[in-house]
Amino acid sequence: MQNLLIGASVVVALLVLFMVYKLATLIHVAKGSKTDEDAGSNTVNGYLMLAFLIIGGIAATWSAMSYFDLYNIPVASEHGVKTDKMFWVTMLITGLAFVITNVLLFYFAFRYRYNKNNTATYYPDNSKLEMAWTVIPAVVLTILIGYGLKLWNNITDVAPKEAEVIEIMGAQFAWRVRYPGADNKLGKYDYRKIDDSNAFGMDLSDKNSHDDFVPREIHFPVNKPVLLKIRARDVLHSVYMPHFRVKMDAVPGMPTQFWFVPKKTTEDMRKETGNPDFNYELACAEICGKGHFSMRMLIVVDTPEEYEAWKKKQKTWLAQNPEYLAQVPEELKEVAMLSAGIENNESNDSSL
């Protein structure tokens, strides 16, 4: 509400500015001839340029500072810390260029406003000057490119072998996740096997799929690399986890992936932000239809112990949908029941 008031006052300020300007021009009209009037408008516009620079500069600085905590959202992944740093380094460099060029622009506009006693300087070129402002941006950009490339190559490098593999699938309009279960291997899938219950199109003739589980929320272990295997079922979606600085499109027919290391548990973040209700969220960042804005999924980052405990508690998908045992080839059925934890709980525990 406070900001709304500020907004309203800015609008009022604009109106006042307008009135002042109108008044100034009226005075000029009253004072005399038409050419004077034009010269008068010119002076007013020159001063408005200066006023814009000063007021705009103050407003930009003030708003950037007062909103800092709101837009600088906490970061919770290893690479995110580095990209954030790069973001602020880039901000520093480009911010400098932004301030210098805008100050010059409005100051020149003000300083060199028309004066009938002045003549403009005939200054068509200066190769040294032009060389300088070709080379300087080129050098600065080369440094930024080098820095950025290094980061990009690290982020998109092959995931470490010990990474937790988790599958995320986008569908209109919900995310679904699949964990590989006790064998740490995701089972194969085929989109033609998808139906209302088998949302992933799991291919049950692959024994790796029997212990896969499909929870309602995402859990990550802290400080351990996580490899997301990403796909989409219908249209494009995009896996977007703002706090982890993770974004990767989900493409039907073309699996994609992204790996990263979560550095803070949900509990840590609750303490850090002072918000006891804090939760990590997964959103969709690629337009996917009318429910695009509602594709939310909850993410929980656990300590390694909590994570293992949570995994143990999950019922396999096959155990939740035992009727799909019919799709399992005869010779695998017994093993499937064993690894899916159907009927015989003791044997399931021992298999873990």
């Binding site: 907004g7 010059l104 020149f108 060199y112 068509p124 219908d234 960042a285 337009i287």
Partner: protein, 624 residues
């Protein structure tokens, strides 16, 4: 050779002008006169800009005030406002919200800033500034407008069909745009979109071929490429970019049409939707993105370059100074034109494209910042030690430079693949391109209208209203898009109907309301322009022949140039267009038509030599 050609058109121009009265239809509707066609493009562009702006106001209401009762809009939007039968509270339909976003983007990018901008100023200024009677082909030029008109009509009709207009965003990524079962707008609305765009591309190509041919072949005597105003250079390069990139969009659209209606699988693979698995296998949605952005990125420069050309001209004229670094300006525009073809995949860093390709496109993208930086510095140096006259056109040009810098700088973030991971498809991108491409190009267009209005209509637009229009727009646009960066850095995704579902995106409700208020105010401020424009056509102060004391050729035509532009012979050109405030000269401007021989007092040493050659030439011709 070229003299003979000029003489020929000369004759024809005379005949056209003198001997037959044109009827209303052939004069104002199916006209082949480049000036009329330019005005047709301009007025169509203004109408589209108002429609496009109005759409943005509606979705800004939704974003700024998500709890608002929108039932008052139902007379306009009909069933797209869902009225709760119990409470009577009206809500904007979530699917229609996306249609609004889609149509706003399509209209602004293609219909306003491509057709409205290039169509108006390339048509109007190329013949006038290079000294030609008309375009190379007046007929093709007319066709160009009428294809655009047809395209406009079809796009407009798509608002009124029961499933609504296309709604998969202006980039129309398949499979969303390919499958009618994915969203309502992907049905007939999308078909109409594709048909309209195909016609639009035909229009752009007809226009572009004409612009290129005219600039190459029809320059008046003495108008070498190194004496061309920067406006013409910009239009020329824009037309080349368009000619090379729009056909790629056409092929992308064609394959999409095949996928939609003829069962092919160019972009479709392994899709399960609406309870069934589709038979399509082996296609790639990424292929579409490559094809789309192969046009889409050059399109950014198709939109921007004409504006940069226009402002180069206006800033030089009104600073009463030569444009600083004329050759560097041309060089950087050429650099931008070439590089614009090799940066497209920076829109696709996180689409699953090979990260190595991402590295290459990141390097190429950041290189394009160098010519852009050169242009900005050259603008600043042109202002330095000038004697600046703030005409409304000049104000809008200065505004453009500010937007170009502010929006260009955020491009350095987005071109960096590592940073793009977080920023991609957030409001940071929205803020970036609305400043650097949307607002900057729009300001260039407005600057052009204010500057060349006297030449178009023989009357002046009201200065004071122009000032008010400028300051409200300039401040308004910054109030909209500057705070939007904060929302973007905070990670708010684009194309969201509302942010209430996410804790992460619930922190900026006030700022979103503020942006919406600023957007509405800025939109209303544009009505000042609309009034000024139409009022001044009929009631504006009568223009003088050269109201801005400008050097370029168009100001040597009569106040209301007829068919053929110059009543007598086309003037010869002797010098570049930027001899402002030349030391020693009588006036602070020397038009291009003044020979060096007449200005011994201000000639530079090498020009003095040229003056000698000029008189030889003139003698030679006389002997001839």
């Amino acid at each position: 050779m070229s003299t003979a050609h000029v003489d020929l058109t000369d004759e024809m121009g005379h005949e056209d002008h003198g001997h037959h009265e044109q009827g209303f239809v052939s004069k104002y509707i199916f006209s082949t006169d480049h000036k009329i066609i330019a005005k047709q493009f301009l007025i169509s562009g203004i109408v589209w800009a108002l429609i496009g702006g109005l759409l943005s106001v509606i979705f800004r209401l939704q974003l700024g005030f998500p709890d608002m009762d929108m039932s008052w809009l139902s007379p306009l939007l009909g069933k797209w406002i869902n009225i709760d039968p119990g409470t009577g509270v009206g809500k904007l339909d979530t699917g229609f919200y996306l249609a609004l976003v889609t149509m706003h983007g399509t209209i602004m990018v293609f219909f306003v800033l491509t057709a409205g901008l290039s169509g108006t100023f390339s048509n109007f200024l190329i013949p006038l500034q290079i000294g030609a009677r008309d375009m190379a082909s007046g007929f093709m030029n007319m066709l160009s407008y009428w294809f655009f008109f047809l395209s406009s009509v079809i796009m407009f009709i798509s608002f009124f069909i029961s499933t609504g207009p296309a709604s998969g965003s202006w980039v129309i990524y398949p499979p969303l745009s390919a499958l009618p079962q994915a969203m309502e707008g992907s049905g007939l609305g999308m078909t109409l979109w594709l048909v309209a765009m195909a016609l639009f591309i035909v229009s752009t190509l007809l226009g572009g071929i004409n612009y290129i041919a005219t600039v190459i072949n029809m320059r008046t005597e003495g108008m070498s490429f190194t004496k061309l105003p920067l406006t013409i250079w910009a239009f020329f390069l824009t037309a080349i970019i368009g000619l090379l990139s729009f056909p790629v969009l056409l092929s992308a659209a064609l394959l999409l049409i095949l996928d939609r209606s003829f069962g092919t699988s160019f972009y479709l693979s392994e899709i399960y939707i609406g309870g069934e698995a589709l038979p399509n296998m082996g296609g790639s949605p990424i292929l579409f993105q490559h094809l789309f952005w192969f046009l889409g990125h050059p399109e950014v420069y198709i939109v921007l370059l004409p504006s940069l050309g226009i402002t180069s001209e206006i800033i030089s004229t009104n600073s009463r100074k030569p444009i600083f670094g004329y050759k560097a300006m041309i060089g950087s525009m050429m650099g931008i034109a070439i590089l614009s073809f090799v940066v497209w995949a920076h829109h696709m860093f996180v689409t699953g494209m090979n990260p190595f390709a991402g590295s290459i496109f990141m390097i190429l993208t950041l290189i394009i910042a160098v010519p852009s930086a050169i242009k900005s510095f050259n603008y600043l140096t042109t202002l330095w030690k000038g004697n600046i006259i703030f005409t409304p056109a000049m104000l809008f040009s200065i505004g453009l430079v500010s937007f170009f810098i502010s929006g260009g700088i955020t491009g350095i973030f987005l071109g960096n693949a590592a940073l793009d991971i977080q920023l991609h498809d957030t409001y940071f991108v929205v803020a970036h391109f609305h400043l650097v491409m949307g607002s900057a190009a729009f300001f260039g267009m407005l600057a052009g209208v204010y500057h060349w209005f006297p030449k178009m209509f023989g009357r002046m637009m009201d200065r004071k209203l122009g000032y008010v229009h400028f300051w409200l727009s300039f401040i308004g646009i910054y109030l909209i898009f500057f705070p939007m960066h904060y929302i973007g850095i905070a990670g708010y995704p684009r194309r969201y109907y509302s942010f209430t579902n996410f804790d992460t995106f619930s922190t900026f409700a006030d700022l979103n309301s503020f942006i919406s208020l600023a957007a509405i105010a800025t939109f209303i401020a544009q009505l000042i322009f609309v009034f000024n424009f139409f009022y001044s056509i009929f009631r504006g102060k009568k223009a003088t022949q050269n109201p801005w004391k400008s050097n370029t050729l168009e100001w040597t035509t009569p106040i209301n140039p007829g068919h053929g532009n110059w009543p007598g012979a086309i003037p010869k050109v002797y010098r570049w267009p930027y001899d402002y405030s030349k030391p020693g000269a009588k006036d602070d401007f020397i038009p291009q038509t003044v020979p060096y021989a007449e200005t011994p007092e201000s000639n530079l040493p090498h020009e003095q030599e040229l003056a000698g050659l000029e008189s030889n030439n003139d003698n030679a011709i006389k002997v001839d």
